[in-house]
């Protein structure tokens, strides 16, 4: 668990490097100097402000960068009476404010500079960025992300303790339109998100999501009048029901055969209707009850047990080798 937690955190940092914009982590209040500024003055600014470099601006235009290295060189060669214009690095490499932080990371690894001036799309100086700014920005973003995540997770996962009753049930209902292939999976996506927020273990979330999605697609493909999905959630169990008043299944045993399908050709072309849906739902579930009558509709109930002791049913069935 430690390892996977670490891997998750690491992936998060990588994601943030791509998500965060340079403008979000850079220092905005930039102190600038002009080419005519004496180096002595620069030395004082760097010392009192505890910074290591300054952009050089002439008539609002970025013309160079002067750093603590330039000051050291000037001290060594006794040239502290020189002006910034004489000792600065001209035409500095810049970064653009609305680019992702990964650009800055790449620049720091490509060049040996300690800082890059940041400009907007019109070329105007808007900030400065150091490796320290990136580290601080990332830490802040991780903390924020973590806190928001924890808060929403805590709130949702404690719903059963926070609301006192003899038995609390959380009921999520989603209407499914017939033939609405383009929106197929939206209900499943929302159920998956809800379960994650409720702190359901990830492996169970994946099983429920796959079963829900298969059931949702079945309604979209087969039930000419649509139907609905209901997820009933208790602390120890999730019950998923997929109900429609469509054409029904005349022969359930046949429908449970892997590869048996009545889906039309256009659905098959879209990658569905291969006759694996019900088989897969049963595989994901701890328990599956399928009731259907030709012309009357279909009622599918699938149970997932969240407590280890309530799961024995699934294990036994697996060991017995019975499958749909």
């Amino acid at each position: 668990m430690e390892g996977s937690r670490l891997a998750q955190e690491f992936t998060k940092v990588q994601e943030l490097i791509y998500e965060l914009k340079i403008a979000q982590v850079m220092t905005r209040d930039v102190i600038t100097v002009s080419p005519a500024t004496p180096l002595r003055e620069v030395k004082e600014i760097l010392r009192t402000r505890r910074i290591s470099g300054l952009p050089v601006v002439r008539d609002h235009e970025l013309v160079g960068i002067v750093s603590i290295e330039d000051i050291i060189k000037a001290l060594e060669s006794d040239a502290m009476d020189a002006t910034v214009g004489e000792k600065m690095t001209p035409n500095p490499v810049t970064l653009i404010a609305d680019e992702s932080v990964v650009q800055a990371v790449n620049m720091f690894s490509r060049y040996t500079y300690g800082r890059f001036p940041v400009v907007d799309r019109s070329g105007a100086l808007v900030g400065i960025i150091t490796a320290g700014d990136i580290t601080r920005g990332l830490l802040k973003a991780i903390e924020l992300d973590y806190r928001q995540d924890e808060i929403s997770r805590y709130r949702a996962s404690h719903i059963f303790e926070d609301i006192p009753s003899d038995r609390t049930t959380l009921v999520l209902r989603y209407e499914i339109k017939a033939r609405d292939f383009a929106r197929g999976g939206e209900a499943s996506s929302r159920i998956k998100k809800a379960l994650t927020r409720l702190n359901v273990p990830p492996k169970i979330v994946r099983r429920v999501a796959i079963a829900t999605y298969e059931a949702e697609m079945n309604i979209i493909i087969h039930a000419d009048v649509g139907g609905y999905l209901v997820a009933d959630i208790w602390p120890e169990r999730i019950r998923l029901r997929a109900v429609d008043t469509g054409p029904g299944i005349p022969d359930i045993e046949q429908a449970m055969q892997p590869g048996f399908s009545t889906a039309p050709a256009w659905i098959r072309e879209l990658g569905f209707g291969a006759g694996m849906g019900l088989v897969n739902i049963k595989h994901c579930a701890d328990e599956m009850i399928l009731e259907s009558q030709a012309g009357r509709g279909t009622n599918l109930e699938v149970n997932f047990y969240l407590q280890p002791d309530a799961r024995s049913g699934r294990a036994e069935e697996r060991q017995g080798g019975r499958s749909g």
């Binding site: 992936t11 383009a182 197929g184 999976g185 996506s189 999605y213 298969e214 892997p258 879209l270 569905f272």
Partner: protein, 118 residues
């Protein structure tokens, strides 16, 4: 294997924005049937497919597929890319066939998802 290592192997290109090319994928699955993807993969799998409709991304979301490679030179429609970006699933493209892409990845050390008894 990282996505950035996969791209040159399949002579591929990245189709979605803001993707993390350092993402590690351990195993792959080649399929045009989405039910097969739902039944025969593990979380974190790389999906190689010739289908490009948005349901491929939905399937990937449910099955927790790490990234998708579209093969045979097929480019997905805008809505597929938009959904993938929303869900944070990187989309890759290869001009080669499914067999060729799977073969190159396998040869480079990527494995399948193992056997499943349904």
């Amino acid at each position: 294997m990282k996505l950035r290592e996969i791209l040159p192997l399949i002579e591929g290109e990245l189709l979605s924005g803001n993707a993390n090319l350092d993402l590690e994928v351990e195993m792959g699955c080649g399929a045009d049937l989405m039910s097969d993807v739902l039944a025969f993969t593990h979380a974190g799998t790389l999906l190689v497919t010739g289908l490009t409709n948005p349901q491929v991304v939905r399937t990937a979301e449910m099955a927790e597929i790490a990234a998708i490679v579209f093969v045979r030179g097929k480019r997905p429609p805008e809505e597929t890319i938009a959904l993938a970006e929303e869900k944070g699933i990187p989309l890759l493209f290869s001009p080669h066939t499914m067999f060729e892409v799977c073969g190159r990845l396998y040869q480079a050390g990527m494995h399948g998802c193992g056997r499943f008894d349904l």
